[in-house]
Protein backbone atom coordinates (compact mmCIF):
# COMPACT_ATOMS: atom_id res chain seq x y z
CA UNK A 1 0.00 0.00 0.00
CA UNK A 2 1.46 3.37 -0.90
CA UNK A 3 1.83 6.05 1.74
CA UNK A 4 -0.96 8.28 0.46
CA UNK A 5 -3.48 5.45 0.48
CA UNK A 6 -2.33 4.33 3.94
CA UNK A 7 -2.74 7.75 5.44
CA UNK A 8 -6.37 7.93 4.28
CA UNK A 9 -7.29 4.39 5.19
CA UNK A 10 -9.46 3.23 8.04
CA UNK A 11 -8.85 -0.21 9.54
CA UNK A 12 -10.86 -2.89 7.77
CA UNK A 13 -12.16 -0.46 5.13
CA UNK A 14 -10.93 -0.79 1.59
CA UNK A 15 -9.57 2.19 -0.27
CA UNK A 16 -9.38 2.44 -4.04
CA UNK A 17 -7.30 4.91 -5.97
CA UNK A 18 -8.29 5.20 -9.62
CA UNK A 19 -6.01 6.58 -12.28
CA UNK A 20 -6.31 6.65 -16.07
CA UNK A 21 -4.17 3.60 -16.63
CA UNK A 22 -4.51 1.76 -13.30
CA UNK A 23 -6.56 1.10 -10.22
CA UNK A 24 -5.25 0.13 -6.81
CA UNK A 25 -7.34 -1.23 -3.96
CA UNK A 26 -5.97 -1.72 -0.46
CA UNK A 27 -7.13 -2.73 2.96
CA UNK A 28 -5.38 -3.24 6.27
CA UNK A 29 -6.47 -4.84 9.50
CA UNK A 30 -4.87 -5.57 12.87
CA UNK A 31 -4.94 -9.20 13.92
CA UNK A 32 -4.24 -10.60 17.38
CA UNK A 33 -2.33 -13.66 16.22
CA UNK A 34 1.14 -14.88 15.59
CA UNK A 35 2.52 -14.09 12.10
CA UNK A 36 3.10 -17.81 11.57
CA UNK A 37 -0.63 -18.51 11.83
CA UNK A 38 -1.56 -15.70 9.43
CA UNK A 39 1.12 -16.92 7.03
CA UNK A 40 -0.05 -20.53 7.31
CA UNK A 41 -3.61 -19.47 6.45
CA UNK A 42 -2.42 -17.42 3.48
CA UNK A 43 -0.28 -20.19 2.02
CA UNK A 44 -2.47 -23.28 2.43
CA UNK A 45 -4.31 -23.30 -0.91
CA UNK A 46 -6.64 -26.22 -0.27
CA UNK A 47 -7.86 -24.66 2.99
CA UNK A 48 -8.79 -21.23 1.57
CA UNK A 49 -12.44 -21.94 0.86
CA UNK A 50 -12.98 -22.97 4.50
CA UNK A 51 -12.13 -19.59 6.04
CA UNK A 52 -12.24 -17.15 3.14
CA UNK A 53 -15.84 -16.56 2.11
CA UNK A 54 -14.82 -14.88 -1.16
CA UNK A 55 -13.03 -17.99 -2.46
CA UNK A 56 -14.85 -20.82 -4.19
CA UNK A 57 -11.67 -22.83 -4.69
CA UNK A 58 -7.94 -22.40 -4.86
CA UNK A 59 -5.85 -25.14 -6.40
CA UNK A 60 -2.12 -25.55 -6.65
CA UNK A 61 0.74 -24.97 -4.28
CA UNK A 62 1.44 -21.52 -2.96
CA UNK A 63 5.22 -21.44 -3.25
CA UNK A 64 7.59 -19.21 -5.18
CA UNK A 65 7.20 -19.55 -8.95
CA UNK A 66 4.23 -21.95 -8.88
CA UNK A 67 0.92 -21.42 -10.66
CA UNK A 68 -2.37 -21.47 -8.81
CA UNK A 69 -5.95 -21.56 -10.06
CA UNK A 70 -8.40 -19.32 -8.23
CA UNK A 71 -12.18 -19.24 -8.44
CA UNK A 72 -13.68 -16.29 -6.66
CA UNK A 73 -17.25 -15.50 -5.66
CA UNK A 74 -16.86 -12.27 -7.67
CA UNK A 75 -16.98 -14.37 -10.85
CA UNK A 76 -17.37 -18.07 -9.95
CA UNK A 77 -17.52 -19.25 -13.57
CA UNK A 78 -14.07 -17.92 -14.29
CA UNK A 79 -10.80 -19.47 -13.19
CA UNK A 80 -7.92 -17.06 -12.71
CA UNK A 81 -4.53 -18.62 -13.40
CA UNK A 82 -2.00 -16.78 -11.28
CA UNK A 83 1.69 -17.07 -10.60
CA UNK A 84 3.25 -16.78 -7.16
CA UNK A 85 5.76 -14.00 -7.74
CA UNK A 86 7.06 -13.23 -4.26
CA UNK A 87 7.19 -15.53 -1.28
CA UNK A 88 8.88 -14.26 1.85
CA UNK A 89 7.72 -16.40 4.79
CA UNK A 90 5.66 -14.58 7.42
CA UNK A 91 6.23 -11.26 5.64
CA UNK A 92 5.16 -10.95 2.04
CA UNK A 93 3.27 -12.91 -0.58
CA UNK A 94 2.54 -11.67 -4.09
CA UNK A 95 0.64 -13.41 -6.84
CA UNK A 96 -0.64 -12.11 -10.11
CA UNK A 97 -0.95 -12.27 -13.86
CA UNK A 98 -0.37 -9.87 -16.76
CA UNK A 99 -3.22 -7.67 -15.58
CA UNK A 100 -1.87 -7.00 -12.12
CA UNK A 101 -0.53 -8.21 -8.81
CA UNK A 102 -2.04 -8.85 -5.43
CA UNK A 103 0.23 -8.41 -2.43
CA UNK A 104 -0.30 -9.71 1.10
CA UNK A 105 1.92 -8.11 3.70
CA UNK A 106 2.30 -9.14 7.33
CA UNK A 107 3.96 -6.71 9.72
CA UNK A 108 4.71 -7.75 13.27
CA UNK A 109 3.37 -5.29 15.81
CA UNK A 110 3.33 -5.18 19.59
CA UNK A 111 2.76 -8.25 21.77
CA UNK A 112 1.20 -10.88 19.59
CA UNK A 113 -0.38 -8.51 17.10
CA UNK A 114 0.20 -8.21 13.37
CA UNK A 115 -0.94 -5.72 10.79
CA UNK A 116 -2.14 -7.41 7.67
CA UNK A 117 -2.27 -5.37 4.47
CA UNK A 118 -3.61 -6.52 1.17
CA UNK A 119 -3.39 -4.54 -2.02
CA UNK A 120 -3.99 -5.12 -5.67
CA UNK A 121 -2.96 -2.99 -8.55
CA UNK A 122 -4.39 -3.63 -11.99
CA UNK A 123 -3.57 -1.63 -15.04
CA UNK A 124 -1.66 -1.16 -18.26
CA UNK A 125 -1.95 0.71 -21.56
CA UNK A 126 -5.29 -0.92 -22.40
CA UNK A 127 -6.76 -0.47 -18.94
CA UNK A 128 -9.08 2.44 -19.88
CA UNK A 129 -10.82 0.19 -22.42
CA UNK A 130 -11.96 -2.42 -19.92
CA UNK A 131 -11.85 -0.53 -16.63
CA UNK A 132 -15.63 -0.22 -16.41
CA UNK A 133 -16.13 -3.95 -16.86
CA UNK A 134 -14.04 -4.81 -13.80
CA UNK A 135 -16.13 -4.85 -10.63
CA UNK A 136 -15.06 -2.99 -7.52
CA UNK A 137 -12.82 -5.04 -5.20
CA UNK A 138 -13.67 -2.99 -2.11
CA UNK A 139 -16.30 -5.24 -0.60
CA UNK A 140 -14.37 -8.40 -1.39
CA UNK A 141 -11.16 -6.98 0.15
CA UNK A 142 -12.95 -5.98 3.34
CA UNK A 143 -14.47 -9.45 3.56
CA UNK A 144 -11.12 -11.21 3.08
CA UNK A 145 -9.48 -9.06 5.76
CA UNK A 146 -12.36 -9.69 8.17
CA UNK A 147 -12.39 -13.44 7.45
CA UNK A 148 -8.64 -13.71 7.95
CA UNK A 149 -8.79 -11.79 11.22
CA UNK A 150 -11.65 -13.93 12.50
CA UNK A 151 -9.99 -17.24 11.61
CA UNK A 152 -6.50 -16.32 12.85
CA UNK A 153 -7.85 -14.96 16.14
CA UNK A 154 -10.09 -17.99 16.63
CA UNK A 155 -7.04 -20.24 16.26
CA UNK A 156 -4.78 -18.16 18.48
CA UNK A 157 -7.33 -17.79 21.25
CA UNK A 158 -8.36 -21.46 21.28
CA UNK A 159 -7.56 -23.10 24.59
CA UNK A 160 -7.19 -26.75 23.69
Amino acid sequence: MNASVASMAQEGKATTVKKTFSRETSVYININADPSVVWALLTNASDYARWNSTVVSLEGEIVQGEQIALKSTLDPKRTFTLKVKEFEPEKRLVWGDNMGNRAYIIEKGEAGQVTFTMSERIGGPLFPLFARAIPSFDESFEQIAADLKKEAETISSSKN
Binding site: S36, D47, I155, S156
Partner: protein, 267 residues
Amino acid sequence: MMTTDNLATEFETFQGELKSFILRMTASAQDAEDIVQETFIKAHSKIDTFRGESSLKTWVFAIASNLTKDMLRAKQRWPENVTDICREAALSNEVFFQQAMQIRQTSPQGKFEIKEHISFCFTCVSKSLPLEQHLALLLKEVYGFKVKEIAEIIDQSDDMVKYYLRVARSKMIEVFDHRCSLINKEGVCYQCTELNGIFNPKQKEQEELVKIKMVRDAEKSSKEELFALRMQILQELDPFESDAAELQLHHLEHNRQVMEKHLTERQ
Protein backbone atom coordinates in the same frame (compact mmCIF):
# COMPACT_ATOMS: atom_id res chain seq x y z
CA MET B 1 18.06 -37.17 37.73
CA MET B 2 16.75 -39.77 35.29
CA THR B 3 18.83 -42.95 35.13
CA THR B 4 18.79 -45.55 32.40
CA ASP B 5 17.05 -47.93 34.84
CA ASN B 6 14.31 -45.35 35.48
CA LEU B 7 14.02 -44.84 31.74
CA ALA B 8 13.41 -48.53 31.09
CA THR B 9 10.76 -48.71 33.80
CA GLU B 10 8.95 -45.56 32.73
CA PHE B 11 9.28 -46.36 29.02
CA GLU B 12 7.40 -49.57 29.61
CA THR B 13 4.40 -47.69 31.01
CA PHE B 14 3.74 -45.88 27.72
CA GLN B 15 5.39 -48.20 25.21
CA GLY B 16 2.02 -49.55 24.03
CA GLU B 17 0.70 -46.05 23.35
CA LEU B 18 3.91 -45.12 21.55
CA LYS B 19 3.73 -48.16 19.33
CA SER B 20 0.08 -47.61 18.40
CA PHE B 21 0.81 -43.92 17.73
CA ILE B 22 3.58 -44.84 15.28
CA LEU B 23 1.38 -47.49 13.68
CA ARG B 24 -1.34 -44.88 13.15
CA MET B 25 1.23 -42.56 11.56
CA THR B 26 2.98 -45.10 9.34
CA ALA B 27 0.26 -47.74 8.77
CA SER B 28 3.02 -50.32 9.15
CA ALA B 29 3.31 -52.71 12.11
CA GLN B 30 6.93 -53.42 11.16
CA ASP B 31 7.84 -49.73 11.08
CA ALA B 32 6.10 -49.24 14.42
CA GLU B 33 8.17 -52.04 15.99
CA ASP B 34 11.40 -50.67 14.48
CA ILE B 35 10.78 -47.05 15.46
CA VAL B 36 9.86 -47.98 19.04
CA GLN B 37 13.16 -49.87 19.37
CA GLU B 38 15.11 -47.06 17.74
CA THR B 39 13.39 -44.55 20.02
CA PHE B 40 14.41 -46.49 23.11
CA ILE B 41 18.01 -46.79 21.93
CA LYS B 42 18.15 -43.06 21.21
CA ALA B 43 16.50 -42.13 24.51
CA HIS B 44 18.92 -44.45 26.35
CA SER B 45 21.96 -42.87 24.71
CA LYS B 46 20.74 -39.31 25.29
CA ILE B 47 19.24 -39.70 28.73
CA ASP B 48 21.81 -37.30 30.21
CA THR B 49 20.33 -34.51 28.05
CA PHE B 50 16.86 -35.00 29.55
CA ARG B 51 16.43 -32.05 31.90
CA GLY B 52 12.99 -32.83 33.18
CA GLU B 53 11.52 -29.66 31.65
CA SER B 54 8.82 -31.82 30.12
CA SER B 55 7.60 -35.25 31.17
CA LEU B 56 9.69 -38.20 30.08
CA LYS B 57 6.74 -39.37 27.99
CA THR B 58 6.67 -36.07 26.08
CA TRP B 59 10.43 -36.22 25.58
CA VAL B 60 10.30 -39.79 24.29
CA PHE B 61 7.35 -39.04 22.00
CA ALA B 62 9.41 -36.16 20.57
CA ILE B 63 12.21 -38.59 19.70
CA ALA B 64 9.73 -41.02 18.16
CA SER B 65 7.97 -38.25 16.22
CA ASN B 66 11.26 -37.11 14.74
CA LEU B 67 12.13 -40.63 13.66
CA THR B 68 8.65 -41.05 12.20
CA LYS B 69 8.88 -37.72 10.37
CA ASP B 70 12.29 -38.70 8.97
CA MET B 71 10.79 -41.91 7.64
CA LEU B 72 7.64 -40.34 6.18
CA ARG B 73 8.97 -37.03 4.87
CA ALA B 74 10.02 -38.39 1.49
CA LYS B 75 6.81 -40.37 1.05
CA GLN B 76 3.67 -39.00 -0.51
CA ARG B 77 0.54 -38.61 1.59
CA TRP B 78 -2.36 -40.91 0.85
CA PRO B 79 -5.45 -39.69 -1.00
CA GLU B 80 -8.76 -39.12 0.85
CA ASN B 81 -10.40 -41.93 -1.12
CA VAL B 82 -7.75 -44.44 -0.03
CA THR B 83 -10.40 -46.93 1.07
CA ASP B 84 -12.06 -46.91 -2.38
CA ILE B 85 -8.74 -47.59 -4.10
CA CYS B 86 -7.82 -50.35 -1.65
CA ARG B 87 -11.28 -51.92 -1.88
CA GLU B 88 -10.89 -52.24 -5.65
CA ALA B 89 -7.48 -53.84 -5.20
CA ALA B 90 -8.79 -56.23 -2.53
CA LEU B 91 -11.67 -57.39 -4.70
CA SER B 92 -9.22 -58.66 -7.29
CA ASN B 93 -6.89 -60.22 -4.73
CA GLU B 94 -8.08 -63.70 -3.86
CA VAL B 95 -5.05 -64.43 -1.70
CA PHE B 96 -5.85 -61.45 0.53
CA PHE B 97 -9.34 -62.76 1.28
CA GLN B 98 -8.09 -66.33 1.81
CA GLN B 99 -5.51 -65.11 4.31
CA ALA B 100 -8.06 -62.89 6.03
CA MET B 101 -10.54 -65.77 6.34
CA GLN B 102 -7.79 -67.98 7.74
CA ILE B 103 -6.98 -65.35 10.39
CA ARG B 104 -10.69 -64.86 11.09
CA GLN B 105 -11.17 -68.60 11.70
CA THR B 106 -7.98 -69.49 13.55
CA SER B 107 -6.51 -66.47 15.32
CA PRO B 108 -7.45 -65.42 18.85
CA GLN B 109 -7.09 -61.87 17.51
CA GLY B 110 -9.11 -62.56 14.38
CA LYS B 111 -12.52 -61.16 15.33
CA PHE B 112 -14.14 -58.66 13.03
CA GLU B 113 -15.71 -55.77 14.91
CA ILE B 114 -17.13 -52.65 13.30
CA LYS B 115 -15.60 -50.31 15.85
CA GLU B 116 -12.18 -51.83 15.14
CA HIS B 117 -12.70 -51.15 11.48
CA ILE B 118 -13.69 -47.54 12.25
CA SER B 119 -10.32 -47.15 13.96
CA PHE B 120 -8.53 -48.87 11.06
CA CYS B 121 -10.37 -46.65 8.58
CA PHE B 122 -9.28 -43.48 10.40
CA THR B 123 -5.67 -44.68 10.27
CA CYS B 124 -5.92 -44.90 6.49
CA VAL B 125 -7.92 -41.72 5.82
CA SER B 126 -5.96 -39.51 8.22
CA LYS B 127 -2.84 -40.23 6.18
CA SER B 128 -4.28 -37.76 3.68
CA LEU B 129 -3.47 -34.95 6.10
CA PRO B 130 -0.16 -33.11 5.80
CA LEU B 131 2.42 -34.74 8.07
CA GLU B 132 2.52 -32.07 10.80
CA GLN B 133 -1.28 -31.89 10.96
CA HIS B 134 -1.49 -35.66 11.19
CA LEU B 135 1.00 -35.77 14.07
CA ALA B 136 -0.71 -32.96 15.97
CA LEU B 137 -4.18 -34.42 15.53
CA LEU B 138 -3.28 -37.90 16.76
CA LEU B 139 -1.25 -36.59 19.69
CA LYS B 140 -4.14 -34.40 20.80
CA GLU B 141 -7.26 -36.36 19.99
CA VAL B 142 -6.09 -39.91 20.55
CA TYR B 143 -3.17 -39.68 22.97
CA GLY B 144 -4.39 -36.75 25.05
CA PHE B 145 -1.33 -34.50 24.92
CA LYS B 146 -1.81 -30.79 25.63
CA VAL B 147 -1.05 -28.14 23.01
CA LYS B 148 2.14 -27.12 24.84
CA GLU B 149 3.35 -30.72 24.94
CA ILE B 150 2.56 -31.24 21.27
CA ALA B 151 4.49 -28.05 20.49
CA GLU B 152 7.51 -29.62 22.22
CA ILE B 153 7.03 -32.97 20.54
CA ILE B 154 6.80 -31.62 17.00
CA ASP B 155 9.04 -28.60 17.63
CA GLN B 156 6.55 -25.93 16.64
CA SER B 157 4.98 -22.97 18.40
CA ASP B 158 1.78 -23.37 20.42
CA ASP B 159 -0.03 -21.23 17.84
CA MET B 160 1.08 -23.41 14.95
CA VAL B 161 -0.10 -26.50 16.82
CA LYS B 162 -3.49 -24.83 17.28
CA TYR B 163 -3.50 -24.05 13.56
CA TYR B 164 -2.67 -27.66 12.66
CA LEU B 165 -5.39 -28.94 14.96
CA ARG B 166 -8.02 -26.57 13.60
CA VAL B 167 -7.30 -27.38 9.95
CA ALA B 168 -6.85 -31.11 10.51
CA ARG B 169 -10.06 -31.48 12.51
CA SER B 170 -12.00 -29.51 9.96
CA LYS B 171 -10.62 -31.59 7.09
CA MET B 172 -11.32 -34.92 8.78
CA ILE B 173 -14.82 -33.84 9.82
CA GLU B 174 -15.64 -32.94 6.21
CA VAL B 175 -14.07 -36.07 4.72
CA PHE B 176 -15.98 -38.41 7.04
CA ASP B 177 -19.19 -36.44 6.70
CA HIS B 178 -19.01 -36.93 2.93
CA ARG B 179 -17.78 -40.49 2.97
CA CYS B 180 -18.93 -42.42 6.02
CA SER B 181 -22.32 -44.08 5.62
CA LEU B 182 -22.39 -44.77 9.37
CA ILE B 183 -22.94 -41.08 10.10
CA ASN B 184 -24.40 -39.84 6.84
CA LYS B 185 -26.93 -41.82 4.81
CA GLU B 186 -25.52 -40.20 1.67
CA GLY B 187 -21.98 -41.37 2.57
CA VAL B 188 -20.25 -43.27 -0.23
CA CYS B 189 -18.23 -45.65 1.94
CA TYR B 190 -19.84 -48.61 3.65
CA GLN B 191 -16.85 -50.94 3.83
CA CYS B 192 -17.15 -51.63 7.54
CA THR B 193 -20.66 -53.03 7.20
CA GLU B 194 -19.76 -54.75 3.94
CA LEU B 195 -16.84 -56.54 5.59
CA ASN B 196 -18.95 -57.29 8.63
CA GLY B 197 -21.34 -59.14 6.31
CA ILE B 198 -18.42 -61.19 4.97
CA PHE B 199 -16.73 -61.99 8.28
CA ASN B 200 -19.80 -62.22 10.49
CA PRO B 201 -22.49 -63.53 8.11
CA LYS B 202 -24.83 -64.72 10.85
CA GLN B 203 -24.62 -61.58 12.94
CA LYS B 204 -27.49 -59.12 13.15
CA GLU B 205 -25.71 -56.07 11.85
CA GLN B 206 -28.11 -53.47 13.23
CA GLU B 207 -27.67 -54.87 16.74
CA GLU B 208 -23.91 -54.45 16.36
CA LEU B 209 -24.21 -50.96 14.97
CA VAL B 210 -26.36 -49.60 17.80
CA LYS B 211 -23.65 -50.62 20.26
CA ILE B 212 -21.54 -47.83 18.76
CA LYS B 213 -22.43 -44.44 20.22
CA MET B 214 -21.23 -42.57 17.12
CA VAL B 215 -23.74 -44.53 15.02
CA ARG B 216 -26.53 -44.25 17.62
CA ASP B 217 -26.08 -40.48 17.81
CA ALA B 218 -25.54 -39.92 14.09
CA GLU B 219 -28.80 -38.11 13.44
CA LYS B 220 -28.98 -35.97 16.54
CA SER B 221 -25.33 -34.93 16.87
CA SER B 222 -23.34 -32.28 15.07
CA LYS B 223 -20.45 -33.19 12.76
CA GLU B 224 -18.04 -32.03 15.47
CA GLU B 225 -19.65 -34.23 18.13
CA LEU B 226 -19.56 -37.21 15.80
CA PHE B 227 -15.88 -36.57 15.17
CA ALA B 228 -15.27 -36.52 18.93
CA LEU B 229 -17.08 -39.87 19.21
CA ARG B 230 -14.94 -41.27 16.40
CA MET B 231 -11.84 -40.16 18.31
CA GLN B 232 -13.20 -41.80 21.45
CA ILE B 233 -13.31 -45.13 19.57
CA LEU B 234 -9.63 -44.75 18.71
CA GLN B 235 -8.72 -43.79 22.27
CA GLU B 236 -10.31 -46.96 23.60
CA LEU B 237 -8.61 -49.34 21.16
CA ASP B 238 -5.09 -50.69 21.12
CA PRO B 239 -4.56 -51.83 17.53
CA PHE B 240 -1.90 -54.34 18.63
CA GLU B 241 -3.73 -55.86 21.57
CA SER B 242 -7.42 -56.02 20.72
CA ASP B 243 -9.37 -59.15 19.80
CA ALA B 244 -9.39 -57.94 16.20
CA ALA B 245 -5.72 -56.95 16.02
CA GLU B 246 -4.36 -59.61 13.70
CA LEU B 247 -7.19 -59.28 11.20
CA GLN B 248 -7.01 -55.48 11.12
CA LEU B 249 -3.20 -55.41 10.91
CA HIS B 250 -3.36 -57.83 7.99
CA HIS B 251 -5.85 -55.52 6.27
CA LEU B 252 -3.73 -52.46 7.08
CA GLU B 253 -0.64 -54.08 5.56
CA HIS B 254 -2.66 -54.81 2.44
CA ASN B 255 -3.72 -51.17 2.18
CA ARG B 256 -0.19 -49.93 2.80
CA GLN B 257 1.18 -52.07 -0.02
CA VAL B 258 -1.64 -51.02 -2.36
CA MET B 259 -0.99 -47.36 -1.56
CA GLU B 260 2.78 -47.64 -2.08
CA LYS B 261 2.14 -49.15 -5.51
CA HIS B 262 -0.61 -46.66 -6.34
CA LEU B 263 1.50 -43.64 -5.39
CA THR B 264 4.57 -44.96 -7.23
CA GLU B 265 2.54 -45.52 -10.40
CA ARG B 266 1.04 -42.05 -10.16
CA GLN B 267 4.45 -40.35 -10.09
